[in-house]
């Protein structure tokens, strides 16, 4: 995958996660229905669980946007989305699984040239030279 493709993939996936995360933060009651039944036995209110999930996704999306630790962040978001796809199943599950595999594609490639990871690597190489 070339540099431009990775940039497009990273920005679009970060935007997608950010949008869904903010929807969860602003209207948690609309997302409660997507929580798996076992979460009902956690000592945490349903709306709080949705907001915590939304906040985690927001921060990870920001990290992806800034290009900070892109590979581990992509892996976490990808596995998170695989778990959601598995839980939701059906047509939405298939779509989520495809999105999860797209973000895992970022996790298995090197960071593109517009990331802080790349700039950090460049500066380390200059120092070692």
């Amino acid at each position: 995958m070339n540099d431009k493709s990775r940039q497009i993939l990273r920005y679009s996936l970060a935007g997608m996660f950010f949008w869904f995360a903010w929807q969860q933060l602003l209207s948690p009651s609309e997302w409660v229905g997507f929580l798996p039944t076992w979460t009902g036995y956690l000592p945490i209110p349903a709306e709080m669980l949705v907001q915590v999930n939304g906040w985690l996704e927001s921060v990870l999306a920001l990290a992806l946007l800034a290009g900070v630790f892109v590979r581990p962040v992509s892996l976490i978001l990808g596995l998170h989305l695989v778990a959601i796809a598995w839980e939701v199943s059906g047509a939405i599950g298939v779509r989520d699984l495809a999105l999860a595999l797209s973000i895992i594609a970022l996790a298995v490639s090197s960071a593109d040239s517009w990331t802080l990871d790349y700039l950090s690597k460049q500066s380390q190489e200059k120092i070692s030279d």
């Binding site: 009902g40 036995y41 990290a63 700039l119």
Partner: protein
């Protein structure tokens, strides 16, 4: 490294946000919010608010009888089951049938000795029956 500073900044933002979400969403706030909502309708309902405990009449509870706005009475306490409808392991129908009424018998027949069910229910408490 600039990258590490940004990562640490994001971690701090995450922890602060998490703390705020946990603080603002703690169960005691369910009671406060229900109290505010009920006070807005106080002139048209039979609500009695005594101190920090909300008291609701059965008429008030009966006004919340849909799957999206579901209040129920179990053992003399009033619970907002709206967020539980879609998550009930035994299906939504069982919860919807409890909305807007005293469903102590239904709950006790099904979950009388279940600590898990009682622990899940206590999170949804918004007051006591008047």
């Amino acid at each position: 490294m600039y990258r590490n500073k940004v990562a640490i900044g994001l971690a701090v933002i995450f922890i602060l946000g998490l703390a705020y979400i946990v603080y603002a969403g703690r169960p005691v706030n369910n009671v406060k919010l229900a109290n505010q909502s009920a006070n807005n309708q106080a002139s048209s309902t039979e609500l009695v608010n005594q101190g920090s405990v909300n008291y609701f009449s059965l008429t008030e509870v009966a006004g919340h009888s849909s799957s999206s706005d579901c209040w129920s009475v179990v053992g003399g306490s009033v619970y907002d089951l709206s967020s539980w409808v879609s998550r009930h392991p035994g299906g939504a129908k069982a919860i919807i049938s409890m909305c807007g009424r005293d469903s102590s018998d239904s709950f006790n027949n099904q979950h009388g000795s279940s600590k898990k069910a009682k622990a899940a229910l206590i999170l949804l408490k918004i007051g006591e029956l008047k």
